[in-house]
Symmetry: C2
Subunit: 344 residues, 2 copies
DNA sequence: GTGAAAGCGCTAACAT
DNA sequence: ATGTTAGCGCTTTCAC
């Protein structure tokens, strides 16, 4: 059932029907006539074809979203926030998975071919091919969760350095002094900035910030390996601040393997507060990021930029929050044991 | 840069260019000429416009996916599996969130308006408005994870009854006899069938299947409430088989609240094996469903039906698998305590 | 205020 | 083997 059919049923020309149907142009047609047309449309069950309209107006009402791993629970709330906010603004969401940087670039090309009006990348590395492609094509794009070094695009992230500072300050307040960091990949902004945040916070309280190992991915396995290396290199450690929750859970495993107990021997702090980390044992103390809000904010900025592509490239930095649970404790006994370990 | 531009650059007519560009019609044009056209296209950086092509051919290369909650980790692997398989078949994925049945129906209409060529619903209730709409519109649709009673659409699900049987048999083998069930919503196939599976499995070993409470949603909070009610009504219980993992985790909370310990006092089995349940404490014994495979299978069936809408309405039932972890144990001491609770 | 006509970018009869 | 023509469903000038 097409617009032509509606026009015929109402006894008017298609163009008149078009004007009546579209709220933005309805005032151009006589009220009474408009009503008749609308009634006919309703009657026939007419649904406008956005593809055809888009062909004419150059719009697709589509937004592409690229995530590194749909199956990763962290991205679910971001996606949900984006999806809801974009749906409200009248955009449908095209979701694409891109586990690697090369794939992300290919996916961006694919989305561009689909004539998306805007994109959201949750995959950005600090130097990123996919971001380059977005900038080249000129399609309005916003980065979420991770930024790029050159800051060419609007970005919505959590304050990663402040988050790490929260973690370190909490541990210091508990009395820890020998604190290590399991860092995320250095080529991703979160890995880089959280490490910087750790080092700055440590220096600010005159503590040695050099106990750091870098995990080669945000996975439990990588966290296990990195934490094991960290503990081996610095046996005196009483606390570990990890760059994210999965790394922290990997650290749990590493501790267990060498017969250490959390938090009795070593305290652990994560980052993200992803689903279920309140139920692991011990319940993970972590830095909470409002992922859904990240998505909502990104959607808002994107909508603004799609409407006016020359809008300023503003970025949003959300303030994270510390959530204290069972994985951190005072090092009272821990220091004694740690000293013994370091000695022996 | 349009096809016309390419044609001009190559000194041919648009239709010839079109034929040369499309692999399916390339054989209609002289090899040498085709090469020249392709070169020109490459040169100008031509990208075909699928919207325009679709308008003519009546195709959108879009598939809609409706999930009840993107933020729920269970749906992430299903989505990932669908997305990957559909991308391979040349379809882009439109993801929509529909927390309620009414919203799902609205979302289906929206996707139909977007001219999607097929749909996947992970939201189906046993009687479902959204499913009705799909059947009416005639858009090829497949149901995943949840079926509907009337079985009008191809469906890809796990064998829910067999899964519950796995859980019950495991508990019975450990020596449990007083086993309760925290059921999922009765208007969703998984809730209904898993309850049936529980009851059948219990009867088959001559056990009383009547210790059941129904949670009013697949959430931890609902599980907590339902498990608390179950324990209050049946203080002699030594084991709980929950209809899904979130309900099981809710049961953990309920047990803790009344000072019971899992698995010492009461064993708990979940259903789904969703991400991270191996890390909670105690690690959850559960029935694993191959969610990614669910998604892949659904994608395959959908593609087949989109190609030939008259293809048979076959359904796929995947066999689940028991994963034994730390939340189940022999009731040796539990029975004594349970008897004491029941008595006092 | 309404109708006529053109055209968005592409494909598919039809003609040569 | 290539060009001509028409048209997918809609919007938007331009007339009247």
């Amino acid at each position: 059932v097409t617009l032509k059919a509606v026009a015929q049923a109402a006894g008017v020309h298609v163009s008149t029907a078009s004007r009546a149907i579209n709220p933005r142009t309805r005032h151009l047609v006589a009220d009474e006539l408009a009503e008749r047309i609308l009634a006919a449309a309703q009657d026939l069950g007419y649904r406008p074809d956005p593809l055809a309209a888009g062909l004419r107006t150059g719009r697709s009402h589509l937004v592409g979203i690229v995530v590194p791993d749909i199956a990763n629970p962290v991205f679910a709330p971001i996606l949900a926030g984006l999806q809801r906010a974009l749906a409200e603004a009248g955009f449908a969401v095209l979701v694409a998975n891109a586990p690697s940087a090369a794939e992300a670039a290919a996916v961006v090309d694919g989305l561009a071919a689909q004539r998306v009006e805007g994109m959201v990348l949750a995959t950005a590395g600090r130097r990123d091919l996919a971001v380059d492609r977005c900038v080249e094509t000129g399609i309005p794009t916003v980065l979420v969760n991770r930024g790029e070094d050159r800051n060419r695009l609007p970005t919505v992230v959590s304050d990663d350095r402040a988050g790490m500072r929260l973690a370190v300050d909490h541990l210091v307040a508990l009395g820890h002094r020998a604190i290590g960091h399991v860092a995320g990949p250095a080529d991703v902004s979160t890995g880089h900035l959280r490490r910087r945040g750790f080092e700055e916070a440590m220096r600010d309280v005159d503590l040695d910030p050099r106990a750091v190992t870098v995990a080669d991915g945000y996975t439990r396995a990588a966290g296990r390996a990195a934490a094991a290396a960290l503990l081996a290199a610095h046996p005196g450690l009483t606390a570990i601040a990890a760059a994210n929750d999965l790394l922290a859970l990997g650290a749990y495993e590493a501790l267990r393997e060498v017969g250490l107990e959390c938090p009795r021997d070593v305290s652990v702090v994560g980052h993200n507060d992803m689903p279920l980390v309140d139920l692991v044992s011990p319940a993970l103390t972590t830095v909470r990021i409002g992922h859904a809000e990240l998505g909502r904010e990104a959607a808002q900025i994107l909508v603004r930029r799609m409407e006016r592509p020359d809008a300023p490239v503003g970025s949003v930095v959300l303030t994270p929050e510390l959530v204290v649970r069972g994985s951190t404790a005072s090092p009272a006994r821990a220091t004694v044991r740690a000293a013994r370990r370091a000695a022996g």
